[in-house]
């Protein structure tokens, strides 16, 4: 069964460093998302992406964040200068059509900022 994959599973970085989190969505899906979950808190929406552009972003998704689909399979989230409060589990998700359908999530990347 097709699934969303994410790499790395765990990333440790120093404050101020840039990180890139990678995702491979399900191949015939058209809509892509990033969510994050700070330990013990709710899963929060960051950004949605369709047709090679951002369709929606939350207030969390400031200028330090960017997303890209560099080729036909990968979907990346870049944090330019990490802060301690960026430590969280980051989930990539994809859906076949609009979000009015099931969103399938990857296993997540645990980001730890020291």
């Amino acid at each position: 069964e097709p699934e969303v994959t994410q790499t790395p599973s765990h990333q440790v970085t120093q404050m101020g460093q840039e990180v890139i989190l990678r995702c491979v969505p399900i191949s015939n899906h058209l809509y892509f998302y990033w969510y994050r979950q700070i330990l013990g808190q709710k899963v929060e929406f960051l950004v949605s992406f369709y047709n090679n552009e951002i369709s929606e972003k939350s207030e969390i998704f400031d200028d330090q964040f960017s997303v890209e689909r560099p080729d036909g399979s990968n979907f990346t989230l870049k944090i330019r200068s990490t802060k301690l409060e960026d430590s969280a589990m980051y989930f990539c998700a994809s859906s076949k059509a609009t979000g009015y359908n099931e969103q399938f999530f990857g296993p997540g990347t645990r980001l730890t900022v020291l």
């Binding site: 809509y31 998302y33 709710k42 949605s48 979000g99 009015y100 359908n101 099931e102 969103q103 990857g106």
Partner: protein, 112 residues
């Protein structure tokens, strides 16, 4: 306002019993989805129920939706130890942002 609030926050039952978790929300929705998360792991999609549906089944799962009360319930019948996980409801609004809004989750523990 909070969207997708589950209760109880934690539920502990014996294996074989049924587990019921509830979710309330505040705005009009297009659909409501339930997810499971094992400790520190990813989110597994369980079931989606649309606003024009009242009940849906999938294996041992039964989901109901009451749009007049803006609430949903997830019933797991004949629970197993492997059902131990956190369960989240997530709503997709009728209009506005194309995103899922998650609740805080219910931590379910099945005791053998």
């Amino acid at each position: 306002s909070q969207q997708g609030e589950e209760d109880p926050q934690a539920l502990s039952i014996q294996e074989g019993e049924n587990a019921t978790m509830n979710c309330s929300y505040k705005t009009s929705i297009n659909n409501l989805q339930w997810y499971r998360q094992n400790s520190g792991r990813g989110l597994v999609h369980l079931i989606l129920i649309r606003s024009n549906e009242r009940e849906k089944h999938s294996g041992r799962l039964r989901v109901t939706l009451d749009t007049s009360k803006k609430s949903s319930s997830l019933l797991i019948t004949a629970s197993r130890a492997a059902d131990t996980a956190s369960y989240f409801c997530a709503t997709f609004r009728v209009q506005g942002a194309q995103k899922l809004v998650f609740g805080q989750g219910t931590r379910l523990t099945i005791n053998p």
